[in-house]
Symmetry: C2
Subunit: 437 residues, 2 copies
């Protein structure tokens, strides 16, 4: 039997994840101590208001409003407050006082990651953040460690449960975006202000973290191209279904060549995914990360992307890892960012597209449109034309054009030309097609 | 810029995985050094015959038959020879000379794991074995680290690509076992002697490793109940399809209660899986591990389960991890086995079953059979009876009985009674149903 170390654990935040972490740590403390080779004493839980109502009963004597006092003397500090400040300041204090830190704070890591990682590197501490992306799904360690000897080519992630729930509802139950969002809110999947989710901001933060790990490059949040699902309407979902696609909000992290040199692209947008692709089967608020690596081939990681107790699982895995590291000794492992690959703007990225146009139902229209596409360097793979009565009673044709891989800038310029053309009544939608480029 | 450590890497074995490891390490050495914070010098490759033909060109000057000399002075030793001896002796020598070791050797770990882990613990070295289970799929780190703060309830793994290929072929193309095996052999998925795969021995080794990690318990290979796919015939596959199931060779690791005390069961057998279960969509030689944990809920890990370059990805991830650990300092983290849960024999396990009987087509047969089941404590969930002409021309009825959850010992005794009954012509098959007990 190894001598057990005794480690002091401070918890900052007792929201839906924090209260579960505290509860599980108190409940399974002996078991976790056996696994960690160290006893884990929860020395306190910093909260804004000691008397606030909580879902989970926590020992009152552990609650405190004095986070700074709690941090001093802790071996492991768990930050589950969310937001930038005061979380950032507390994490840096914890690191500088010699503690390892565990955080689920994707917003903080995506915006201030380098400062936090550098601080840890200076003192030999370690930052653990398995819970920051895709909740309970182990994805940080697989990218950081298991795939550290491989070259990741591409990641496609469904990393926001709220938008997946909404898009899945729209697809399965033919709901409008508003109705699906209302249901997500009623079930607690969406916040009162859903902007972070439906605007793609949350997914963009996670994309920055995943791309940083996969490509060994610091990825500033500003370099992530971001589009939300707010423009997705029922007609797009229905059209996608008819064409054998499903609309998913994807975080795409891609290694590519720009003028013969390696570069990366990191982007979040709603995209069409073939219904046979494994990501198409990810329903409800679940998450999945599909990884393509040079040697490993295709991998997929699937599970619950959010939820208090699910995310607590990832946090506690990090706590045990931090404890084991304390027992083992040595310094922390610095983040791997030396590849430092350039991050391309969205205009330089190539993908396939589906363009839906409403056009005048008259002779020569298709030739005109084909000419505009060809002049723009956009090669057509499929065309489907249907005719229906327009709003004013005059017949209107609907053209659904599937393109071969095209450069985003060319496509975007071409769509501008199409929109300006006399024969085009309306550009109904332009969606990227992801999955098997 | 951190000062780079220089680490000496010795490779034992240059088969399909080893030659890919050597090739990738030589090709991407600079990149891996950046990630590891240490240069990785491949100092030599121990082989049985320097002049043997190989798939991949390797520098002749690195090849040697003197493994022992290579091990001395190496910081990291990669063992990809397979088999028990001399691999075991070399790994222990490497550990005792202070090296970290990386191995894909499931047979060795499943049979001599404790000796190897203890030796590493004694000198503070670390054993890495991500490649030992499910090839390129990161599953060891997720179980060992990411889920270290959770309580795994159940694992269901498709961990043998050969048998999955065979069963998938039988299902999709209505082949016999022999025909599907012949195709697997022709494609290089099956060895000349396929016993290790189709007998379930390979899967049992992997089950022992997974269960050990998941339940923090040393699991001797002898404690794993093992059945292969040799008894699975075309008629069972067809009957499964008709009933909405697919037959998969599963490694099941389960936490359960025996007389109120926690225990585990580790077993490998072909089982019926609902076609809607995520594991049913795992085709060809792919692998997947489905994990249910108390807090995390359902997780799935999917990817290539074998293949030289795919497995090399996992090996190189371990090499980078070992290098980072050398740079960080400190000792290795001991395996977590203190839970030491009892491992139940198969007779104590409960699951659902599907029993297919050929019975005489006469009055009262169903009542007799229902009586035998009821007397045996086996509760019937579904019955389907069909009648066909038997071999001798007399009408024979076929009964397919789906049971509720029953204890294996009760089920087995009951099947013996059924077989001995006058009204039962033949017990055509007894298969467990796994997935949603």
């Amino acid at each position: 039997m190894i001598d057990q170390r005794h480690l002091r654990v401070a918890l900052l935040g007792a929201g839906s994840v924090g209260s579960q972490v505290a509860s599980l740590l108190l409940q399974h403390g002996d078991e976790l101590a056996d696994r960690a080779g160290a006893t884990l004493e929860l020395v306190g839980i910093a909260v804004r208001d000691v008397d606030a109502p909580r879902d989970v009963d926590l020992p009152v004597e552990l609650l405190t409003t004095d986070a700074e006092a709690l941090i001093l003397g802790a071996d492991i500090v768990i930050e589950l407050m969310g937001g930038i400040e005061p979380a950032r300041g507390y994490l840096l204090e914890a690191i500088n006082s010699g503690a390892d830190v565990v955080t689920a704070n994707k917003a903080l890591l995506a915006t201030h990651g380098p400062v936090i990682f550098d601080a840890a590197d200076q003192v030999g501490a370690q930052v653990y953040y398995e819970a920051s992306v895709a909740g309970a799904i182990p994805i940080i360690r697989p990218l950081r460690d298991s795939l550290a000897g491989d070259r990741v080519q591409r990641i496609m992630g469904i990393v926001n449960g709220t938008t997946n729930f909404i898009l899945d509802k729209m697809d399965a139950e033919h709901l409008t975006l508003e109705a699906a969002l209302a249901e997500a809110t009623a079930l607690g999947y969406a916040e009162a202000d859903p902007t972070a989710d439906i605007g793609g901001y949350d997914a963009a933060q996670k994309a920055a973290i995943l791309a940083g790990l996969a490509f060994h490059t610091t990825v500033p949040l500003e370099a992530v191209h971001r589009e939300g699902i707010t423009e997705i309407d029922k007609s797009m979902i229905d059209a996608a279904r008819k064409a054998g696609y499903v609309v998913k909000l994807l975080a795409v992290c891609e290694r590519l060549l720009e003028a013969g040199e390696e570069a990366i692209s990191v982007r979040v947008y709603p995209a069409l995914v073939d219904r046979k692709h494994p990501l198409a089967s990810v329903h409800g608020a679940n998450n999945a990360v599909f990884v393509q690596a040079e040697a490993a081939g295709d991998l997929m990681f699937y599970g619950a992307g959010a939820g208090g107790i699910q995310t607590a699982s990832a946090v506690l895995g990090d706590v045990v890892s931090a404890a084991r590291r304390h027992v083992a000794g040595g310094v922390g492992v610095a983040e791997s960012t030396r590849a430092n690959l350039p991050i391309l703007p969205i205009g330089h990225v190539s993908t396939r597209y589906q363009i839906t146009l409403e056009v005048a139902d008259q002779t020569g229209v298709l030739a005109t449109i084909a000419g505009i596409l060809s002049d723009g360097g956009v090669s057509v793979a499929t065309v489907e034309q249907t005719t229906a009565a327009g709003v004013d009673g005059a017949p209107t044709a609907r053209l659904v054009i599937g393109t071969h891989t095209a450069r985003e800038q060319d496509l975007s310029d071409t769509v501008d030309h199409l929109a300006a053309s006399d024969v085009v009544t309306r550009v109904a939608s332009v969606l990227r097609v992801e999955g098997s480029n």
